[in-house]
C-alpha cells in the first residue's frame, strides 16, 4: 500500500513536469526553428562525416554487416563504391523504390557519398550469418555453373569468384540472406522503375528465371562468402 502511494506521488510529479515542459514548448513556439538558431543546427545541417556514418550504421549494422530490423537492411561493408553511389542516385530518381532510402539519399551531397562509399568499401566484418544451411550445395552450384536449362548465367561471371563484385556490379559476399532473397524475388517491382536507363535491367531476366527455392539456395550460399 505504501509503495503504491509513493508511486502515486511520483506520477503527480511526472504530470507537473509534463505540464511545465508543455508550457516551455509553447513559449518557445516553433521550437525546432528556434533550437536551430541556437546552434543545434550545426548537427541538424547534416553534421560531419562521423555523424553521418553513425547514422548509416544505425540501420545497416554497427559494423555495417547488415541488420535484421522489420525489414532486412543490407550489408554495406566491402561494397563497391560505384554500386553504392549508383543506388543512392537511383533512390533519389525513383528508379529504385524505397521510401526510407529516398529520404536518406536526398540529405547526402556528392562528396559525402564518395567519402561514405569509400569508407564502407574498406570495412571487412564477418558475415552476419543466420541463413538456412539446407541448400548451400545447390546455391554453390548455381553461383558457379548457373542453370543453363533456365537461362540463368553463373553468378560468378559478373560478381566474381569470391562474390566481391566490381565497379557498378555489387558485392554479394556476406550479404544478409533475407535481403538477397527479397531483392531477387521482387527485382522488377523495386528496381528499374520509370523510363530512364537503369543498370538493374541486366539482372531482370536472371532474377525472373530463378525459382523461389533456387533464389533461397543462392542467397544462402553468398551469405556465407567472406
Amino acid at each position: 500500500m505504501r509503495r503504491l502511494f509513493t508511486i502515486d506521488c511520483s506520477r503527480l510529479r511526472d504530470i507537473d513536469l509534463r505540464a511545465a515542459l508543455l508550457a516551455l514548448v509553447l513559449i518557445v513556439a516553433g521550437s525546432v526553428v528556434v533550437r536551430g538558431d541556437e546552434g543545434v543546427v550545426a548537427v541538424r545541417a547534416g553534421g560531419g562525416f562521423e555523424a553521418k556514418l553513425d547514422y548509416c550504421k544505425t540501420c545497416h549494422g554497427l559494423s555495417a554487416q547488415g541488420y535484421r530490423g522489420y525489414f532486412p537492411m543490407p550489408r554495406l561493408a566491402g561494397q563497391q563504391p560505384q554500386y553504392i553511389e549508383n543506388q543512392l542516385r537511383a533512390f533519389i530518381e525513383r528508379r529504385r523504390t524505397n521510401p526510407i532510402m529516398a529520404n536518406v539519399a536526398h540529405a547526402l551531397n556528392p562528396s559525402m557519398i564518395a567519402a561514405l562509399a569509400s569508407h564502407f568499401h574498406h570495412l571487412d566484418p564477418k558475415p552476419i550469418g543466420g541463413a538456412p544451411h539446407g541448400a548451400l550445395a545447390l546455391g554453390k552450384r548455381i553461383y558457379e555453373e548457373g542453370l543453363p536449362e533456365s537461362n540463368v548465367a553463373a553468378c560468378w561471371a559478373c560478381h566474381g569468384t569470391d562474390g566481391k563484385g566490381q565497379n557498378e556490379i555489387p558485392r554479394l559476399a556476406g550479404q544478409l540472406y533475407e535481403y538477397t532473397v527479397g531483392q531477387l524475388s521482387g527485382w522488377g517491382k523495386q528496381r528499374g522503375q520509370g523510363t530512364a536507363v537503369d543498370t538493374s535491367a541486366i539482372m531482370a531476366p536472371t532474377a525472373h528465371n530463378l525459382s523461389k527455392s533456387q533464389i533461397e539456395a543462392v542467397a544462402a550460399y553468398v551469405s556465407t562468402l567472406q
Binding site: 515542459l21 525546432v32 533550437r35 548537427v43 545541417a45 522489420y70 526510407i100
Partner: protein, 197 residues
Amino acid sequence: MKRIAWKIALLVLGVSVAPVVAGEAVVRNCTWCHGTSAQGYMVAPRLAGQRSLYLETQIRAFHDHVRDNPFSKQYMWSAVAALAPDAAHDLAAYFATLPARPANDGNRSLAASGRSIYMEGIPDANIVACYACHGPNAEGVRDIPRLGGLAYSYLKARLEQWGQGYHSVAGSPMPLVARPLGPAEIDALASYLSFVR
C-alpha cells in the same frame, strides 16, 4: 471417432489453459505492477501484446543486470532474480498473446509530427526512420519491441535514457538512434506512439 474427437477437445483445452494455470502465481507477480490485464500501470510498461522474444530478452537483461535504468534496477532486477529461463520463456509467450490497448495519453497536437519522424526520420539531422526496424504500425518483430500504444511517459523515459548512458542489451543500435533526438522530437515520438493501435 467420437472418442478421438473427445481426446482432441480435451487436448486443446489442456494446451490452452495449461500455461495460465501452471504459471498463475508467477503471472500474478507480474500483474501486481504491470496491471491486472498487463496493460501497464504507472511506471510499469504494458506487457500485453509485446513481442515474446523481446520480453524474454529483456528478462534476461534484468537478470544479468545489463538493463540498468533506475526503475529496472529498483524493481526488475530482484523481480526476475529467481526466474528460470523456462519460466521466463513461458511468461513471455503468455503476455504476448494478451490483447493490447493503446494508452492514448500523449499530446495529440504532436502526433502528426511524431508520425512523420517515425515514418521518415529527419535525414538532415541524422535521425533515422523508426519504421525501418519497428515496422509500419510500430508492431515490432522478433526481439524488436512493439511500441504502438505504450504509455507516453514510458516511451519518453526510454528514449531519454539511451542518451543518458543506460543500457538494454548488448549490440542494440538504440544508443546511436537516440543520440541526435532532442526533447522536441522525443516528445513528438512518444505522443504519436501512445495513440498507435
